[in-house]
């Protein structure tokens, strides 16, 4: 939602907005993860990261398709992914940050997968059959992402001095982007009232407890929550990284809008 958008009122409008937010998160993270393809530290990890990227984009595509259906204006998943600008994208700022080194990629993946896991545990019971179906289908894959990234947090945290330093730096860097994951704005509140949205503020506690537990086991220090927290992704307010990512992602599709690519 750019600064000009109105808060949705009707159920379908709220659901549309809610689905697009989730889809944007996943598309943007999937796009970032796919940058590892062919450049990973080990073939096994190339495979694993490509696999998670593929899941993320798959989840996004399912959510966009359903959102477009709810909207009923003849748009499809690609219209939503390729023909909106950065001020219209609603993803969390955390997810658009450059991929960094493997430590950064893993720290982000762990924090976000854990968040997604807790969120989707709620969404699988959403009061909307199709949405709930998508959520429980995706949940299986999210479990794998969480396990994979958690194992790497342990390996890197409790590995060598260098890996410890790198992943600690990564968590320290990324921490300011964790605040907005739990913000409840008008859309979230209405979605919760309609019975298909989760109470995000409530997820914060179990999320933090699990993060504490894993980072502790990994001999890492949990960054201080009492610091500046970035915010705005859900309103279309982003860091400069997103525009460049979209320019690359959308250029071909937008250059030849009449061409068929599916």
């Amino acid at each position: 939602m750019s600064t000009l958008d109105k808060t949705p009122v009707k159920r379908d409008e709220i659901l549309f907005e809610y689905l697009v937010r989730l889809a944007d998160d996943r598309l943007i993270l999937g796009q970032r993860l796919s940058e590892w393809s062919g450049h990973g530290p080990e073939l096994e990890e190339d495979l694993a990261l490509a696999n998670i990227a593929l899941d993320m984009i798959g989840h996004a595509s399912g959510l966009y398709t359903y959102a477009a259906e709810i909207e009923g204006e003849g748009r499809d998943e690609d219209d939503l992914a390729y023909f909106r600008d950065d001020i219209d994208f609603k993803n969390f700022q955390m997810l658009e940050q450059p991929k960094g080194d493997l430590a950064y990629t893993i720290a982000r993946q762990f924090l976000f997968s854990l968040y997604s896991y807790l969120l989707y545990m709620e969404l699988k019971d959403a009061d909307d059959e199709q949405f709930a179906g998508l959520a429980s289908k995706h949940l299986k894959e999210i479990r794998y992402h969480l396990r994979h990234s958690r194992e790497w947090v342990l390996r890197l945290g409790d590995g060598t001095e260098e890996s410890h330093r790198r992943i600690q730096d990564a968590f320290d860097d990324i921490w300011m982007y964790t605040g907005e994951l739990f913000e409840m704005d008008e859309v979230d509140k209405k979605a919760a009232e309609e019975g298909f949205g989760a109470d995000l503020a409530k997820l914060r506690k179990p999320w933090k407890e699990h993060v504490d537990e894993v980072l502790d086991e990994a001999t890492l220090t949990v960054p201080d929550d009492n610091q500046y927290m970035a915010s705005g992704g859900r309103t279309g307010f982003h860091t400069e990284h997103l525009g460049h990512m979209l320019a690359q992602m959308q250029f071909l599709r937008r250059s030849y809008p009449d061409a068929e690519w599916t």
Binding site: S37, P41, L43, L102, L252
Partner: protein, 314 residues
């Protein structure tokens, strides 16, 4: 048994169509040739991820993005699978990898060409994976068990890659004027390098006779190339793509398609390291390898500590 008897017995097994397994006796030269060939193949699967990975982020639809990501992921899997097969011959993945990123070991020259438009991705699927299938279908019958089995499994996925590439190229060839242009241009650029994938002509291929005698290969480079040309001509016609060879014509006597002179000078130049993307490919692989060093070290250090802890606990 003396050496000659062992050798005769080995040859007898091969002539009988038996598979040679890792623990079986084999001539040193057989082992060496296999290591060279299989590791080249594995490197090619991995380097091949680069030209295609080049378009994942720009793929023109979510579906195409998923298809391409999955394909590149498959290629990583092929690399892994073939590396494991070579390791049965007593070498490690790590030393093999260092031989090509720092040394003189080769990978398929085809991946030293750039992917300029999205149509290149389709052309690669159709032509390059298509050529790989012709080659790998033969290798699936190879005398070395682990190699042969890895090829059977890989061929299934390559067929899928070829199908997806061909279908999308067909769509582009019948799409907007810009799409048509991209499609034809991609095929024009990839055609000759693809024909070179089968290796130098038979009279300049020093290893062929030996590999055939040992049942590693069953067809010569030129035979494989011809069978690829024959099947590709019809596929091109079907989707309205022209193959960039004015000399291409059907030979009634042989029942094959005759093709023009392959630019072999270019082939040797690329082998020598002077293809458009050689340096870039090696640079990218080296960078990944070196930047991954701390990750690999961390993983093995963590495993070491964990083992120690587990031992203490039990």
């Amino acid at each position: 048994m003396d050496e000659q008897k062992k050798l005769d017995e080995f040859q007898r097994r091969i002539d009988n169509g038996e598979k040679i397994e890792p623990k079986d006796w084999m001539p040193d030269r057989y082992r060496k040739q296999l290591i060279r060939m299989m590791s080249q193949h594995a490197h090619s699967e991995v380097v091949g991820m680069l030209p295609e990975g080049n378009w994942i982020e720009r793929a023109p639809s979510l579906k195409r993005k998923k298809v391409l990501l999955a394909k590149v992921q498959d290629e990583a899997g092929h690399g892994l699978y073939i590396y494991s097969a070579v390791e049965t011959l007593g070498v490690t993945r790590r030393e093999l990898v260092e031989e090509y990123i720092y040394g003189k070991a080769k990978y398929s020259s085809i991946f030293n060409y750039p992917t300029l438009t999205y149509a290149d991705i389709c052309a690669i699927g159709w032509l390059v994976d298509g050529a790989a299938i012709v080659n790998q279908t033969m290798l699936a019958k190879s005398s070395y068990g682990p190699y042969s089995r890895s090829m059977v499994r890989i061929c299934k996925e390559e067929s899928f890659h070829k199908k997806q590439g061909y279908e999308m190229l067909a769509k582009m060839a019948n799409g907007t004027p810009e799409q048509k242009k991209m499609a034809q241009d991609a095929v024009n650029r990839w055609w000759w390098p693809t024909l070179m994938m089968f290796g130098p002509p038979d009279d300049e291929s020093p290893n062929s006779a030996e590999l055939i005698k040992w049942g590693v290969k069953s067809k010569t480079n030129d035979e494989l190339r011809q069978s690829f040309v024959d099947r590709t001509v019809m596929e091109a016609k079907k989707i309205g793509i022209e193959l960039p060879d004015p000399d291409l014509k059907y030979n009634k006597e042989t029942g094959h398609w005759d093709y023009g002179e392959i630019p072999w000078d270019e082939f040797w130049e690329v082998i020598r390291g002077n293809g458009p993307m050689n340096r870039e490919r090696i640079r990218a692989r080296r960078k990944a390898y070196e930047e991954g060093a701390w990750v690999r070290e961390a993983a093995s250090e963590y495993a070491r500590k964990k083992k120690l802890r587990d031992e203490k606990a039990s």
